[in-house]
């Protein structure tokens, strides 16, 4: 009560000021009902490495502040950054809100306390030892029955160091609020309209409580009851429609309470009826897609050279006992599966720690790209015959892929998986995208099914001797083919070197090339030592010395992202604008059609489409004739904003092509494999003309 009167007095004072026509520089009062503070997840900032900070609001009991859509009245919490040059801040991350009835109206917001996270990206050229000063103006409307606008500057000074140090005092708070961030729904939601009723249907059973919080105004009447009906594996939530006459996609946050607790999901409901398959059926479909994706991965250009060699050696292995061949196949399969599990585990753990990552994340780190270049180059040198691997003079002529023994088979599996990572096969994108929204156990199952699909063709060849009869007879030609197959690998290494250049500039390229020269030297020294018996120890010693020096090279890489991804010369550079969520929103508000190309330099299929489709004059013309603004979302380096948009479409990797038609029509996702004629056909179907 006391608070309310104070509030009234403040409002009265404000109106008095206003009434007297005095210049009031900032109409918002300094905080009285809310204490605001900036907290950081790191104690020290590492130059170039993004980190999370949070705006912590302590709210007087009985009062509340507002969510991104405040409901019938109110205004969201705002944070206006004043950052040092080169520092950028991501959008605020909103935990799901609570409902606050106000008479016949309804508001969405938070009481007692709330933590709103934002990701800060510092530039790479910060000097360790100095401090990074973050400043922002935080403002909010705090309400009980009456509302008080408040504002305050918030600051945070963090020491800059060569490594980021976590801040253990906020670990719990950050983890708690992240658990309340809505995740993209792993199932699709549909809606139906019946008069003034809007019903959302979702393939989830056992829902005890459900609330829908729309992003846009006028979709539903906020204060009306939300009626929950459960029919086995299907849940329906019936809402009262709002003033919007035509609904397209119904978007917002759905908060579900089941036996396992309360979870929030972002949904994009399309009009329609629910397919009959339930939640598990959906998982089955995702597992199936993963398996198919794994199968297709075998013929991707990064993997094919290694696997075709391996397959040909199988023919050679006719003389081995069937049992040996079978166990060899099993070892290879184990190598593949262990690598997939390790990769998936790493990805899931990092995501659990709140990193915005997706498939291909390994390639967003220049250090990893450099190591992959070394691996591919090393294997290629081996195929070229510069050196042999294995049992030395006993096994002269052996190559890495035909290394005898089950351990060798196992590492071929690992190598194949590592080489496969840059290639995203069709089906895989959908499966992995869906997997990352599932609980960790189910997500792991999807990765394992991918691995099974990937390993299966070779393992099956090992197990069914009859199939091996189809393989060509071994002979001297295999030696030639081996030399020849080194070149796709050189090509892959060269391509990754280009990716590295885009990520780190010419300095990074210099480091990479230096590494390749040294690696060549090491391979040659080692190869020489294999040809003679004298001086072997010295040769191995110097090889190891050079190799360990090569391994330190990634730390020399300039970690700057000062290099802006420029379009390849054959694309008309002017036609693509860089993507930001705000630019997209702006264009959509102007009612313009927008095409967004989610791409990355390290994504092969993206590059193929850029060259063969998007840079074609007829495709460019088809876009410009219809007034489509082209936005390029470059995911070559980590970018949480793009990751979030990808997640919104249930994806966690590139390529993704989305056409946002004119007006408020829902976005359309295009296939990942495109041809120029297909693009023109899609454009005329979706935009006319």
């Amino acid at each position: 009560m006391y608070g309310r009167w104070l509030g009234l007095m403040l409002v009265g004072l404000l109106s008095l000021w206003g009434g007297l026509g005095m210049a009031v520089p900032a109409q918002a009062a300094s905080p009285r009902y809310v204490q605001a503070e900036l907290v950081s997840e790191v104690r020290t900032v590492q130059p170039g490495t993004p980190f999370w900070v949070g705006l912590q609001l302590q709210i007087t009991p009985g009062w509340h502040v507002y969510w991104q859509n405040p409901g019938d009245s109110g205004d969201r919490v705002r944070l206006n950054w004043q950052l040092p040059p080169g520092v950028t801040a991501g959008e605020l991350q909103w935990p799901y809100p609570q409902r606050f009835p106000v008479g016949p109206l309804m508001n969405f917001g938070y009481e007692n306390q709330v933590l709103l996270l934002s990701q800060i990206t510092p530039p790479a050229d910060l000097t360790p030892g100095q401090t990074l000063d973050l400043r922002a103006q935080a403002s909010w409307l705090v309400c009980q029955e009456d509302c008080i606008p408040e504002a305050t500057p918030v600051t945070l000074s963090l020491p800059i160091a060569s490594a980021a140090q976590p801040n253990p005092t906020v670990t719990n708070a950050f983890a708690q609020v992240r658990a309340q961030h809505p995740q993209p729904a792993p199932w699709s939601v549909v809606y139906g309209v019946d008069g003034e009723k809007l019903t959302l249907s979702l393939p989830v059973g056992g829902v005890k409580e459900a609330w829908f919080f729309p992003w846009a105004d006028g979709v539903i009447t906020y204060a009306s009851p939300q009626t929950l009906t459960s029919r086995g594996k299907v849940t329906e939530l019936t809402l009262q429609r709002g003033y919007q006459e035509h609904l397209t996609t119904v978007e917002g946050v759905l908060v579900l309470t089941t036996q396992r607790g309360t979870n929030a999901y972002t949904i994009q409901a399309q009009p329609g009826t629910l397919p009959t398959s339930g939640g598990m059926g959906n998982l089955g479909r995702i597992l199936g897609l993963g398996f198919l994706g794994g199968l297709v991965l075998n013929v991707m250009p990064c993997v094919l050279p290694i696997l075709s060699l391996k397959t040909l050696q199988l023919a050679d292995k006719m003389r081995q006992s069937p049992r040996q061949v079978r166990w060899g196949g099993v070892s290879y399969g184990a190598g593949v599966l262990v690598s997939f599990v390790a990769l998936a585990g790493g990805l899931l753990i990092l995501r659990g720690l709140g990193q915005q990552l997706g498939w291909g994340f390994q390639l967003q780190s220049p250090g990893m790209v450099l190591l992959l270049i070394y691996v591919l180059f090393g294997v290629a040198l081996n195929l070229s015959g510069v050196f042999q691997v294995g049992t030395g003079w006993l096994g002269v002529g052996q190559t890495l892929t035909e290394r005898p023994g089950y351990l060798g088979e196992f590492f071929t599996g690992v190598l194949a998986t590592v080489a496969a990572t840059p290639c995203t096969a069709p089906f895989m994108a959908t499966a992995i995208g869906a997997a990352l929204t599932l609980p960790p156990g189910a997500a792991m199952a999807v990765f394992i099914s991918l691995g099974v699909g990937f390993a299966l063709p070779y393992v099956a060849l090992c197990f069914v001797p009859a199939w091996r009869r189809w393989l060509p007879k071994p002979g001297a030609w295999m030696h030639t083919l081996q030399r020849l197959l080194a070149f796709p690998l050189y090509g892959a290494a060269a391509w990754l070197l280009w990716v590295l250049t885009l990520q780190t500039g010419t300095d990074g390229l210099a480091v990479g090339l230096l590494g390749l020269v040294l690696l060549g030297l090491a391979a040659w020294v080692y190869g020489q030592s294999q040809a003679q018996t004298a001086g072997r120890r010295l040769a191995i010693f110097s090889t190891l010395l050079i190799l360990s020096f090569c391994l330190t090279l990634p730390s020399w890489l300039p970690s700057s992202n000062a290099v802006v991804y420029t379009n390849t010369p054959d694309t008309q550079a002017a036609s693509w604008e860089p993507f930001t969520p705000s630019r997209l929103q702006e264009l959509r508000q102007q009612g313009q059609p927008v095409f967004v190309n989610f791409t990355a330099a390290w994504c092969v299929s993206c590059q193929v489409n850029e060259r063969l489709v998007f840079s074609q004059p007829e495709v460019q013309r088809a876009f410009s004739e219809r007034g489509v603004t082209l936005l390029k979302a470059d995911w070559t380096r980590r970018n949480p904003e793009i990751t979030q948009v990808l997640q919104g479409f249930g994806r966690s990797g590139v390529p993704l092509y989305v056409l946002y038609p004119r007006g408020n029509q829902p976005p359309v996702v295009w296939p990942s494999r495109l041809s120029p004629t297909q693009v023109t056909a899609l454009l005329s179907a979706q935009l006319g003309g």
Binding site: L8, S15, G18, Q27, E145, C147, E245
Partner: protein, 211 residues
């Protein structure tokens, strides 16, 4: 006879008001939409008259939900922004009703005399201030905030509903820079054009209805 002349219209008004209120209660579930007929209403003004929306067919009508103690309303009155818009609308021949739906005891509630005093003090020029202490009119239109604006065309169709402009802040200096949706809608309606931005999310204090 003199008594009768007072009694008949008064009885008629009570009957009409009663009938309207009963229809209103039935209508509250229907959502008001742009492009549909604006629901008819009868309301009492602060000068003691009774107005009926259907009497204004052929004129453009602006409904402005207000609460003189709400800081967002204060922003538009202390800067003269709302008064200017009222003058412009009336110069174009539009009718302007300021509606007060604050319940007794709530922020912004005014008696007829207080309402007139506020109008005088602010140098406001609405056609009339409509007193809606039981919130019937507010709920009929789904009025949620102060200010919340509605523009009805000459045929009685609702053509605009939502915020007054695109700046939900409390910064006085922004009112002239903001894109005023009501001014734009009035201009387009008067010119016989379709209103480009016909619905927006209103901002401001919640309407202080009876709890």
């Amino acid at each position: 006879m003199a008594r009768f002349s007072w009694f008949v219209p008064a009885t008629a008004a009570v009957v009409i008001a009663g009938a309207t209120i009963s229809t209103l209660t039935v209508n509250t579930s229907a959502t008001v939409r742009v492009g549909s007929p604006a629901p008819n209403f009868t309301a009492k003004t602060s000068t003691g008259q009774t107005v009926n929306l259907s009497d204004y067919k052929g004129k453009v009508v602006v409904l402005e939900w207000t609460n003189h103690e709400c800081p967002f309303v204060v922003k538009h009155y202390s800067t003269g922004n709302m008064q200017k818009l009222q003058q412009e609308a009336k110069a174009k021949g539009a009718v302007w009703f300021s509606v007060v739906s604050s319940a007794p005891g709530q922020q912004g509630f005014v008696t007829a005399e207080q309402a007139n005093a506020v109008v005088k003090e602010k140098k406001a020029t609405p056609t009339a201030v409509l007193l809606d202490p039981d919130g019937t009119l507010g709920k009929l239109y789904g009025a949620r905030t102060t200010p919340h604006m509605f523009v009805i065309d000459k045929a009685g169709q609702l053509q605009y509903m939502g915020a007054i402009d695109d700046d939900p802040s409390l910064a006085n200096q922004n009112v002239t820079k903001a894109n005023n949706y009501v001014r734009a809608a009035l201009g387009q309606i008067m010119a016989g054009q379709k209103v480009t931005t016909s619905t927006t999310q209103p901002y401001g204090c919640s309407v202080k209805y009876k709890n």
